[in-house]
């Protein structure tokens, strides 16, 4: 299959893996954070850890929109769905994320009108088809999905669709990376930069990471070869003592980003003064709200939102895992109280969440290896 098989070519992958082994200093331990949840998923799905030398440790970053959403926001969104005149819509990713009273899917099982949509414009279509109902779209995502929400809101305004609103939970990636770097228990050597976010924001916004923090960052694609090549590029920089922003994902990411998308976002959204991130706490100017000019389509302006704040279960260590301080399996609840079927934290829900990815693709492998080494 074109655009896929080229990037999974065994010969090239083997050659790139050899290049990584050549470049990596055996006396050094490398800690590289992949910011994006899509990369986390790819690492496990393609078994990239089996290919990398042991002294290259990949740390899973905060770039999974479902995972960083505090439980209170899910309760807030679902509180609106309790109104029998409201159709609650969200991406499939959101459907199993637990609120304190259950996930959207569980609310659906109890009779609420909860529907999966594949884009915000599908939710708008639903609003047009159900003029006697109010359709609320639970918007999540980084700059990857924010432009499509913005364009949908502009279309709702232009078409005068009034029975539609967006509960906006869009967040921005740069403040999250800053929070990670400010965290005192974090020691990172380099970053694999998010690919999809960068198609929108471009590569410039990462320059401070290279210049001020002296950490190399390579914006990367999601295929095995993309990620291995990005690691080669990072190792070359580290070897040369450099810290630059590089773009491995040139076939998709323009250095300057996507101006049209950025314009749409600027017209519809403004920065919130602060927003709560699961595991990372309140981060200033880290999320988007809908501008007052679009208040008519802003769920938070149209409905009274309880503003629920929920502290995560004490034993759950989502924050430490999210920041990369702990590996998923080092959390006390991992694989016991918290599994993909009964997730306690959101990291166990999304297939991009590091806990779910680790659980689905890795942990039994690791457990097995331990068993074998113990019995040997």
């Amino acid at each position: 299959m074109r655009f896929v098989d080229e990037f999974r070519d065994p010969k090239l992958i083997t050659a790139t893996a050899e290049e990584i082994r050549r470049l990596a200093d055996p006396n050094r331990h490398y800690r590289i954070m992949e910011v994006c949840g899509g990369h986390t998923h790819a690492i496990y799905r393609f078994g990239l850890k089996d290919i990398l030398p042991e002294n290259i440790e990949l740390i899973h970053g905060p770039g999974c929109p479902v995972c960083v959403l505090p439980m209170g926001r899910i309760d807030d969104g679902l509180s609106m769905a309790g109104d029998p005149n409201v159709i609650f819509t969200a991406f499939g990713d959101m459907m199993r994320v637990p609120g304190t009273q259950g996930s959207p899917l569980e609310h659906k099982a109890h009779g609420m009108d909860v529907r999966i949509v594949y884009s915000p414009s599908d939710a708008l279509k639903l609003a047009r088809a159900n003029p006697d109902k109010h359709v609320m779209f639970f918007a999540i995502g980084f700059e990857t999905t924010a432009p499509s929400t913005a364009l949908t809101l502009m279309r709702a305004r232009n078409e005068g669709v009034t029975n539609f609103s967006v509960f906006c939970n869009h967040v921005t990636i740069i403040p999250a990376i800053r929070a990670i770097l400010d965290s005192p228990d974090m020691r990172l050597d380099a970053f694999i930069g998010p690919g999809h976010v960068s198609t929108v924001i471009g590569c410039r916004p990462y320059e401070w990471i290279a210049q001020n923090e002296k950490k190399p960052i390579v914006v990367s694609g999601f295929e095995p070869l993309d990620m291995l090549q990005s690691i080669v590029m990072l190792l070359r920089q580290l070897k040369a003592g450099e810290a630059k922003v590089e773009n491995q994902y040139k076939r998709v990411v323009p250095w300057e980003g996507n101006r049209a998308a950025l314009h749409a976002m600027a017209e519809v959204f403004q920065l919130r003064p602060y927003f709560e991130w699961r595991g990372l706490g309140f981060i200033s100017q880290s999320a988007l709200r809908i501008r007052d000019t679009f208040a008519q389509w802003d769920s938070e302006a149209r409905f009274s939102i309880p503003g629920v704040r929920v502290t995560d279960p004490k034993a759950a260590q989502c924050g430490e895992v999210l920041k990369g301080v702990l590996k998923p399996h080092q959390c006390k609840l991992f694989g016991r109280e918290c599994t993909p079927e009964h997730p306690v934290g959101a990291l166990m829900v999304s297939s991009e969440g590091s806990c779910a990815a680790y659980y689905n693709y890795e942990h039994r492998k690791t457990a097995m290896a331990n068993q074998i080494s113990q019995s040997a």
């Binding site: 299959m1 083997t14 991406f91 499939g92 199993r96 594949y118 999540i140 942990h363 097995m368």
Partner: protein, 330 residues
Amino acid sequence: MAHGAGGKASRRLVEGLFAPLLFGASTEPLGDAAHLQINGTRVAITTDSFVVKPLRFPGGSIGELAVNGTVNDLAVSGARAEALVCTYVLESGLPTEVLEAEVRAMALAARGAGVTIAGGDTKVVEHGKADGMYITTAGLGSPLPGVKIDSASVRPGDKILLSGPIGDHGVTILLARGELDLEADLQSDTRSVLPLVEALAAIAASGIRWMRDPTRGGAATSLNELARDCRLGIVLFEESIPVRDTVRGACELLGLDPLHIANEGQFLAVIAPDLADAALEALRRAPGGEDAEIIGEVREQPAGAVLETTRYGGSRIVDMLVGDPLPRIC
């Protein structure tokens, strides 16, 4: 309830509730059909309910599925379907022509599979229930000579045989619901697998240790169940697993795993190593079996789990499906 999608929750429901209360002390692993002795005659019996939205989709419809699904459950238990009975649960107000089309589809499928429809029943439920119609079929079959399906007979070194490309049915249904704005030239694989099972049995009956048709929950779920039942590891070779480009493409776009997608016209078989090549050839020679492949093998490790290896040396655990496959967007 997440119990309908054929993954972990379904299995827990059956093992935790139905089996202990209904099947008494029997500790037999749960198969696709039960084989019983009645007055000295061995018969196979099974039942299945069909709930599908939309009722018609490219390549098939609920009436046809209701026949082939039950014929296939019998086939992979090592039996030839002889007679079916059916129950239609109809939503009040269902247009007659919709019903007639499904009854005709059922008749055609039964003729194709060489099975008699011996009786049936209908119930009508109120408007808004039953998504148009649900169909339940039960089937009686006669055992294929020399075939014994038993997960306890599976041994390390056995080969995993797959009859053809996976994921066609599930992806066709996903696209036919029209919610994705994706179009692809793709049809459900719904068909009777009995001719393929018979072709396999004619050459390698004694080598067939286990068979299963990977419907809901996909090949991953069937193979995980096998791994658990036989307490051995299943190792799959990614490059050998046949998947059409359209299915792969849709799965790549939606973040789904073809191994989790439902099939209605394929089966998996575990074959003793000395007969594996002959079995593969027999399948490939049979009409509709041309794309059959050996996709993996049974090993001691990882005990109780399914591992997929890639051509470039990576590997991953392939788990059962949890809940429904939900496309990944953000």
